[in-house]
């Protein structure tokens, strides 16, 4: 019917347009309702975190669950202050921000260079090297844990941020793979045209190719930042001193033995810990979704 209407625009009756408009509104309404329900469903745990964070320590466990602050119980906003002070938020957030930012820069830069190399340069054993690099994705961290720890211990890097920052600067197989796939979708003719205009490899990379793979770089950046922001095991292994503590480790200190975990404080701290990642995500949301869509199709 739509095709017919397009073929004979002048013959479309007004009723049809009106009916289509109502149908369209109904469709948009239904979809909105569906998405809203889905969002509510997904946000429900976050709401549970919020209401638990506002309860007293003992009140967090009482059944039946009280869902409505101000109506069913007096919200304890002071929990946020207590939780942040307990985890020494200025220290741990500062440390985590340093580690996550430097690791993110390392991840993006190293992946860009290596992926560029694999995508654009001919070199002996290139495909074999690429396959070997991909194979490293199959090795679980638990297997690398001990030798990695011993290596950093011998280098005198325990209780420093180096074991957390250095590896991303040496490349991550997944990020390299992702960016290489993006590079290969850009026609070589663009490189050749730039070469004719006198551009070298670095100028081609930064002025021709990087602007075109910006969504992919943002996917890598957000993924890397989120991973390092939430990383628990590595900081736990490598960092001991309180001055070096990171947020994920500090968050784990709310867990107590014998069921003594103060869930209200834990939830407050966990909610606050979400904020930087949410800010980063919403700031770069447009590019991120573009990157995910493109990688979903072509990556």
């Amino acid at each position: 019917m739509a095709a017919e209407a397009l073929q004979h625009p002048k013959t479309r009756p007004i009723e049809l347009l009106q009916r289509r408009s109502i149908r369209h509104r109904l469709w948009v309404g239904s979809v909105t309702l569906l998405v809203a329900s889905g969002s509510l469903f997904l946000l429900w745990p976050v709401y549970f975190m919020l209401i638990t964070s506002l309860k007293t320590s003992g009140g967090a466990f009482i059944l039946p669950i009280k869902w409505l602050p101000y109506i069913q119980y007096e919200p304890q906003w002071a929990n946020y202050k207590e939780a942040l002070e307990f985890m020494k938020w200025t220290v741990v957030y500062g440390n985590t921000l340093k580690v996550a930012s430097l690791a993110m820069i390392g991840d993006v830069l190293s992946a860009t260079f290596v992926a560029y190399g694999f995508a654009r340069f001919r070199a002996p054993f290139r495909n074999t090297l690429f396959t070997m690099m991909l194979a490293t994705l199959m090795i679980p961290f638990a297997v690398r844990l001990v030798p990695e720890y011993l290596s950093f211990a011998r280098l005198g890097m325990i209780d420093t941020f180096w074991p957390l920052i250095l590896p991303p600067w040496l490349g991550s197989a997944f990020n390299i793979f992702l960016l290489r796939q993006f590079f290969t979708t850009i026609p070589l003719a663009m490189d050749e045209a730039a070469t004719i205009d006198g551009a070298g490899p670095l100028r081609i990379l930064f002025q021709i190719l990087v602007p075109q793979i910006r969504p992919a770089l943002i996917v890598v950046a957000i993924g890397s930042f989120t991973f390092h922001w939430n990383d628990f095991l590595r900081p736990l292994l490598y960092l001991n001193l309180p001055a070096n503590r990171t947020a994920a480790v500090a968050l784990s200190f709310f867990s107590a033995v014998y069921g003594g975990t103060p869930f209200n404080l834990l939830m407050a701290a966990a909610l606050v810990m979400l904020i930087p990642v949410l800010v980063l995500f919403f700031t770069l949301q447009r590019y991120y979704i573009q990157g995910v869509v493109i990688s979903g199709v072509k990556g």
């Binding site: 009140g59 466990f61 430097l102 001919r122 490899p201 070096n244 867990s255 107590a256």
Partner: protein, 494 residues
Amino acid sequence: MKERVLTRRRLVAVLGLASAGAVLAACGAAATPTAPPAKPAEAKKPAAETKPGTAPAAAGANYAPAKPAGGSIVWLVRSTPQENKGQEAIFEPAIKQALPNIQVNRVIVPGAQYVAKINSMAAAKDNLDIWGFGGNYYDYWARSMPQDLTGYISADNWDVGNYFQQGLMDIYKVRGKYYGVSQLTTFGSVMAYNREMFDKAGLKPPPVKWDDPEWTWDRMIEYATKMTKNAGKPDAEYGVAVNLWNRETSLPYLWGGDCTPQEHYTNTITPKMDFNNPAVIDSHQARQDLIFKNKVSPDPATTKAMEAVGSVFKTGKIGMMLDGGWLFWEASDIKDFKIGYAALPKAKTNKHINFNDFWIMGRWSTNKDAAWQIMRVLSDVPQTTAYAIHSGTPPTPRASLRPWLESVSKYSNMSVDDLVTLTTGAIDPKNAQESSDHHWLQFAKINDAYDQEIDALWTNPTATAKDVITKMAPTRDSTAKGIYDQFEDSLPKG
């Protein structure tokens, strides 16, 4: 499509760029690894002090060494907010005051990774001077990890037997030598009860005396029956939950028996357990009956659901809860209903598990004198008293008991005298046995297998304890024998 060829010039250019990037990264990160220690201002203003009146200041340390040591010490603790706040607010300032030349690095490790961290630090001979908070200390001893402290105790003329609560220092005395300093006791296992459910059912609170002949398992069922409502439904209230940990031992104790020969507690290993005996069978059957026959206890699925939001007892839907003495501090923040504490009821006895922790000095410590002096400050009465009140956790020196019980009295609405009767009765060696998870080598191996197999009894109403336990017994023996064979020749001789 023409591909770019990697020439030497390009390779050199790329390598140069990569090196420059690495140098830049190193410069950028250089400041981070050498992050300065916590500013004095932060140390002076601990988080716990934000609640005025809740952090009583330590009244100055009594312990003063003749020759104060110096250097630095690594002190490992587990993550538990109540304890960590107390360490920061009470112990650290006291150490600074008493031993200003010692730099203490308190390392907090999440509870789940705590023992693994101790083991890995010991294996790597990483700096670890003092640790406490559980683990299997006979296992530590078997691996020659703890320093023998007998010499230090003698040199200080420290009468540890009278300084600490009855019998506590004997627990980690192996072959006449002290390997730890008493740090924490749970005062055994205990019953916490919901006063409001008792009042509603018109019941009198259960007694605090451990030798009360009226307070029996059957009386407990009678009470529980009166308090149970709508069992099995979403709004159910249950009379009792027997959550006693380490049920393999704790349940048979109540029936006057044990699942293993006594030598397991002294030798740390045994070639054969004694699992298939009437005390084990009857006690397990009694617990299953509470769930399916008497219908006064939540079944495992309901318990899991209730635990989803934390502690079962804190839900306010359980009349009586039998568990380790951590109920003293775990339940201290309950404001929505009134609570109380009582002795365990007698089935045939009311023998129960006591859980004790010790400060232990690493044998490989490179600053042992300083570590010892820190351990003394950690055990000093002003600190242990203030810390116990601040954290809610029970103290071990005799002189700290009453002040701590005064704080327990406030939230439990019980008299201090009643609490003294309850706690001192609980750790009387004739009523209590130190937990097997602190005694038996490779306890986790024994316990994990038990937990997995015994579920057949707790989850299946038609299963009987006799059948399940008879079936489990050979595996229990073979597990014990395997551990015995592994360690028989390698235990320390001295």
